[in-house]
Amino acid sequence: MLRLIVTVLSRRLVSAIPTLLMLSLVVFVVLRLIPADPLAMMLPPNATPADAAVLRHQLGFDRPIITQFGIWLLNALHGDLGISIGFQQPVTALIGSTLPATLELCLSALLVSLLISVPGGVLAYAVTDRRGEFPVGLTVVLMQSVPSFLWALLLIAVLGVYLPILPFAGRVGDGVPMPHLTGFLLIDFLLKGEWGDWLGAVRHLVLPSLALAFGFAPLVIRVLRSSLLDQRGEAYVAVARLRGVSESRILWRHMLKNAALPALTMIGVQFGFLLGGALLVEMIFSFPGVGNLMIQAVRNNDLVLIQGIAIVFCVLMLLINAIVDTLYVILNPRLRKPS
C-alpha cells in the first residue's frame, strides 16, 4: 500500500512540473500586457524619461519577453522570485512569512467544512421525498448563494460588532509576541506551552474559518446528497437490504463510503474556490496571509509580487490535486493494479 501511495504521488507530481512551467509562462505573459506602467510608482514625481529608462534597464524590463522569462525561471529555481516593487523586500521572504497563516486558515476551514457537510449531506439525503426536503434544500441553496466574503462581513456584523463575542482582526490579540518556529500559530503556541495565547489564536481563527467554511460546505453537501441518491439505486444496496441489514447500517457503512468518492473528487476540483475565498476573507479580517498580500500587490500593480504569489497558488493547487488523486486510489480498489 505504501509503495502504491508513493508511486501515484510521485507520478502526479512529476507530471505537474510541465504544467507549472506552462502556467508560469502564461502568467508572465499576461502580466506584461499591462496597460499601466508599473514603474510609475517607483519613480519620484519629477523623474525624467531618461531616469525611467535607466530604471527599466535595471529591472530588465527592456529585454524581450522570452529572455525575461528565462531569467525569472532560472532565478526561481534557485529560490529567488525577485524583489517586490511595492515592499522593496524579496518576494520569497514575503511569501514565506505569510504562507503559513493562509495554510492554517484554509486547513481549519476545510476541517470545519467537513464537520458541517458530512452530517449536512446525510441529512439532505435523508429528507428527500419527505416533509423536510423543502426547508433543508432551501437552506442549502441559500447558503450556497452567499459567497465567503459576504459571510465574512455578516459574521463580523453579527458576532463581532453587534454581539462582540469574537475578534475579527489579525491572528493574535494586540501586544502578543509572535513565536517564529513553524509559522503555524496553533503548533507554535502549543510547543511553547502558552495556553492563553494558543486560545487567543484559536479565537482569532474562528470567524475567518467559519466564513470560508460556510462558503465551501454547501458545495460538498450538494455533491454528497446527489451521490448518496445515486448509491440508493445501486444493486448492492437492495441486496444488502434483502439480507436483512438495517437501514442505518446500510447508510453509514455501505453507502457513505461509496458516495465519498465523487465527493472527494469534487473537493479537489473546488479547492481553488476555497483558496480564492481566502484572499478576500484575509483582506476583510486583516489576516496577515498570502491572500492579503496578493490584494495589496494587485492594488499596487506590483508585477513581481503578483507573479510570485500566483505561482505559489498554482503549486498549492497542483499539490492538492496530487493528494486528492492519491487518496482516491487508496479508497477505490478498482483503480489499483490487480494483484
Binding site: R11, E234, A235, Y236, A238, V239, A240, R241, L242, R243, G244, V245, S246, R253, H254, K257, N258, L331, N332, P333, R334, P338
Partner: protein, 647 residues
C-alpha cells in the same frame, strides 16, 4: 426466536439439517398464499398489481414462477420480502411462512427473517456486492448478523466458499467484486444465501445475466445446494423450459394473474392456458421440425391499463377468447393438481398439429458474387502499459478468417460474449479497420478506403443495433427516423409529401400500427422501437443488413413477431442478413448458414440444420447442450462428468 433456532444448528452441510425447534410435518408448507391481492394506488384508480394468488410451497420443493417482464413475478418476490415500493399494499388474502402470518407480523420481526430464514439471490451478480468491500468484509457482516462468533467467521466463510465449488477460497476472500467473474460472484451470493440454512430461498432470475455455459454450472450447483439443505425455492425466470426442467411445480404469471399452475413436466408437456402455450411455442426449437412461431398481437398490459380489464387480462390477445372472458376470470382444475384460469382450456390440450411449418430461412439468390466478404481479416486491439507506455499488449478480437455473404441469404454468427462476433460486424460495417486482411463490399475493396469508397459501401450495408433505446434519437419523430437515410449527403432532396409517403410505406412494411409516424420513441414499446430500427435500415434499400443481437432484449412473444417479420422481409426484398446472436434457437429459425465463434476464431461452420443436429466441435456441442430442450424427459442441466472447479 428464529435466532435461537439457528444458533442450535452448526454449519456442517454434509448432513441434512432439520429446521427449527418445532418439528416440521412434511405436509406443512413453508410458504402458502391464499387469495392474496396486491393493490397499487398510483393513479386515480387503484389497480391489482397481483390478483388472487393461491399456492402452497412444501418443504424442499422448488416452484418456478414464469412470466415475461411486467407479469408481476418480481413483485411477488418483493411481496414475500416485505419490501414493497410506496403505493403498493396487500388488500386481501393471507400469506404464511412456516405457519406464521407474514402480513400480520410487525415490520421489525419480518425484517429479522430476511437473510436468515428467507434468503434471496439477485439477478445481476456483479453489482450485487459492495464494490469497496472485499468478499471477506461482506461475509463478515453477514455472518455477524447470523450470530457466528468472531473466531469462527473466517473458517465458516472458507467452508461456505468451498461448498459452492470455488477454487482457492482463501484468495477469493481477499478479492474485490470487480476482480471476480459473473459466475464467481453468483456462487458467492449463493454461498451467503445458504449460510443460514434458510427454509425459503427466492432466486430472481439468477442466471439470466450469465453466459450460457456458466448458466448450466450455476444452476446445477444451486440445485445441489437446495437438495443438501432441503430448502424450499421459488425460482423466478422468464424461461419456461428452464423452469420445467429444474422445478417441481411451475406457475405461469401474466399481468399479475397466475394463469396456470401445476407439476412442471405437465405444464411444459401439456400447457392448457393459451398464454402458456404461446409462451412455449414462441421460442423456436433447436431440434425437430421448424414450425412457424405463433404471433400474439400487441403486448402485455402495463399497470395503468389493468383497470380496464376486469375479467381475464389475456383476453384482448387470446386467439380463443369469447365474450364471457372479458367479464370474469374462470378457473378450472385438471388432474395432478394442475390448475388453469381459463374457460376454454380443457378443450385445447396438446395441439401441436395446429402449428404450421415455418418459412424456410432464405438461401442465396445469386451464387456468384458475394455482397460482402472478409478475406483473412483479423482485428487486434493494442493497449499500452508501463510508465511511458512502452509495453504494447495485443488482444486478438478476431483471428484471421474469411467469410462470404451472398445476396439474399441469412447467415448467423453464434458465440458467447467475448467471442468476437460483434467485432466481425464492426469490420463489415467499416466501424473498425482490419489489422490484416481485406474487407470487400459488393466486390469493391474498402479496406482503408477513401471516404467516397466508404460512403458508397455504406449505402449497401446497413446495421440494426441491439439496444433500441440507444439507437433512436428521442427528439426525432418516427417519420423522421424511418426516412433518415433520405437526408444523406449526395442524394436529391425529397419533399415533405414524398417523405411522408415513404415513411408510411416503411411503416406498413415493418408492421407498425397506422398512427406511429407522428409519435416519438419514448412513446413506443421495445418491440415497436425495434421495428422502427428495422424500417430505418430498410429505407436505404441495402443489399445486406447486419443485425447485432436485435432480439435479445425483447420479451419472447415480441421476439416472435420480429423474427417472423425478418423472414417475410427477406422473402419480399431479397435482402441478405447477417445475424449475430448468442441464442442458438433464434439463429436456427432465421439462418440457412451458421458460424460458431469462440475467442476470436470460427470453430465450426456450415448449413444450420447440419451444424445443430450433428455438431462436430466440442464447443458447439456444449452450446447446444446448454439449451433446455422442449422434451421434459431430457435432463437439464446436462450431467457433466469431472467438471473442473470454477477458478
Amino acid at each position: 426466536m428464529m435466532r435461537t433456532e439457528f444458533q442450535s444448528n452448526t454449519l456442517q452441510p454434509t448432513e441434512p439439517q432439520s429446521i427449527g425447534v418445532r418439528p416440521m410435518i412434511d405436509s406443512e408448507s413453508v410458504l402458502s398464499l391464499q387469495g392474496v391481492t396486491l393493490t397499487a394506488t398510483l393513479g386515480a384508480q387503484p389497480v391489482s398489481a397481483l390478483r388472487d394468488l393461491n399456492f402452497s410451497l412444501g418443504r424442499a420443493r422448488v416452484l418456478g414462477v414464469v412470466g415475461e417482464s411486467g407479469a408481476g413475478k418480481s413483485m411477488l418476490a418483493r411481496l414475500i420480502s416485505g419490501l414493497l415500493p410506496p403505493g403498493f399494499d396487500v388488500t386481501s388474502g393471507t400469506m404464511r411462512f412456516v405457519g406464521r402470518d407474514l402480513l400480520a407480523m410487525p415490520t421489525r420481526q419480518r425484517r429479522e427473517l430476511l437473510g436468515r430464514q428467507i434468503a434471496f439471490i439477485p439477478q445481476e451478480p456483479l453489482t450485487a456486492l459492495n464494490p469497496l468491500w472485499t468478499i471477506a468484509d461482506t461475509f463478515n457482516e453477514h455472518l455477524t448478523r447470523l450470530g457466528v462468533p468472531a473466531s469462527q467467521r473466517f473458517d465458516t466463510a472458507l467452508h461456505l466458499l468451498e461448498s459452492v465449488q470455488l477454487a482457492t477460497p482463501a484468495q477469493m476472500l481477499r478479492r474485490y467484486p470487480h476482480q471476480l467473474s459473473g459466475g464467481q460472484c453468483q456462487r458467492v451470493l449463493i454461498a451467503m444465501a445458504f449460510a443460514s440454512e434458510p427454509a425459503l430461498l427466492i432466486a430472481d432470475e439468477p442466471t439470466t445475466a450469465l453466459d450460457v455455459v456458466t448458466q448450466t454450472r450455476v444452476m446445477r450447483m444451486l440445485a445441489e445446494q437446495q437438495r443438501q439443505h432441503a430448502t424450499a425455492v421459488v425460482l423466478i425466470t422468464h424461461d419456461l423450459r428452464l423452469a420445467a426442467h429444474v422445478c417441481d411445480d411451475v406457475a405461469v404469471m401474466y399481468a399479475g394473474d397466475m394463469v396456470e399452475y401445476g407439476p412442471a413436466r405437465d405444464v411444459l408437456d401439456r400447457p392448457r392456458h393459451p398464454y402458456t402455450r404461446a409462451l412455449k411455442y414462441a421460442t423456436p426449437d433447436l431440434t425437430g421440425p421448424r414450425r412457424r412461431l405463433p404471433v400474439l398481437k400487441q403486448q402485455m398490459p402495463g399497470l395503468s391499463a389493468l383497470a380496464d380489464l376486469p375479467g381475464c387480462r389475456f383476453a384482448p390477445r387470446c386467439p380463443s377468447a369469447d365474450a364471457a372472458c372479458g367479464h370474469a376470470l374462470q378457473h378450472r382444475a385438471a388432474p395432478n393438481g394442475h390448475r388453469v384460469s381459463c374457460s376454454a382450456a380443457c378443450e385445447h390440450g396438446a395441439d401441436t398439429a395446429e402449428l404450421q411449418a415455418a418459412l424456410a430461412p432464405p438461401t442465396p439468390v445469386d451464387d456468384a458474387r458475394p455482397v460482402a466478404e472478409l478475406r483473412e481479416a483479423s482485428l487486434t486491439y493494442y493497449t499500452r502499459s508501463g510508465l511511458f507506455g512502452q509495453h504494447k499488449t495485443g488482444f486478438d478480437a478476431v483471428k484471421p478468417f474469411s467469410l462470404k455473404v451472398y445476396p439474399g441469404e441469412f447467415v448467423g454468427i453464434v458465440g458467447e460474449s467475448g467471442s468476437g462476433k460483434t467485432s466481425v460486424a464492426r469490420l463489415l460495417m467499416g466501424i473498425e479497420q482490419p489489422t490484416e486482411g481485406r474487407v470487400l463490399i459488393a466486390g469493391a475493396d474498402v479496406t482503408h478506403g477513401t471516404a467516397k469508397q466508404v460512403r458508397r459501401a455504406r449505402e449497401q450495408v446497413q446495421i440494426i443495433f441491439q439496444d433500441p433505446q440507444s439507437a433512436l434519437n428521442p427528439r426525432r419523430s418516427v417519420e423522421r427516423l424511418l426516412t433518415q437515410a433520405l437526408e444523406a449527403a449526395g442524394l436529391p432532396a425529397v419533399d415533405a409529401a414524398e417523405r411522408r409517403r415513404r415513411a408510411l410505406a416503411l411503416q406498413s412494411d415493418v408492421g407498425l400500427p397506422a398512427d406511429c409516424v407522428t409519435r416519438f420513441p419514448t412513446q413506443l414499446s421495445g418491440g415497436q422501437k425495434q421495428r422502427v430500427n428495422i424500417g430505418r435500415a430498410l429505407c436505404a434499400a441495402p443489399a445486406l443488413i447486419v443485425a447485432d443481437e436485435i432480439v435479445s432484449g425483447l420479451d419472447v412473444s415480441v421476439q416472435a413477431q420480429i423474427l417472423n417479420l425478418l423472414l417475410e422481409l427477406g422473402r419480399e426484398h431479397q435482402i441478405a442478413l447477417l445475424l449475430i446472436s448468442h441464442d442458438l434457437s433464434v439463429v436456427r429459425y432465421l439462418c440457412s448458414r451458421v458460424l460458431v465463434m469462440r475467442r476470436g476464431e470460427v470453430v465450426e461452420q456450415g448449413p444450420t440444420e447440419e451444424v445443430f443436429s450433428n455438431p462436430q466441435h466440442p464447443y458447439t456441442r456444449t452450446l447446444i447442450e446448454a439449451v433446455p430442450s422442449d422434451d421434459a424427459g431430457i435432463p437439464w442441466p446436462p450431467v457433466a462428468a469431472g467438471e473442473a472447479r470454477a477458478a
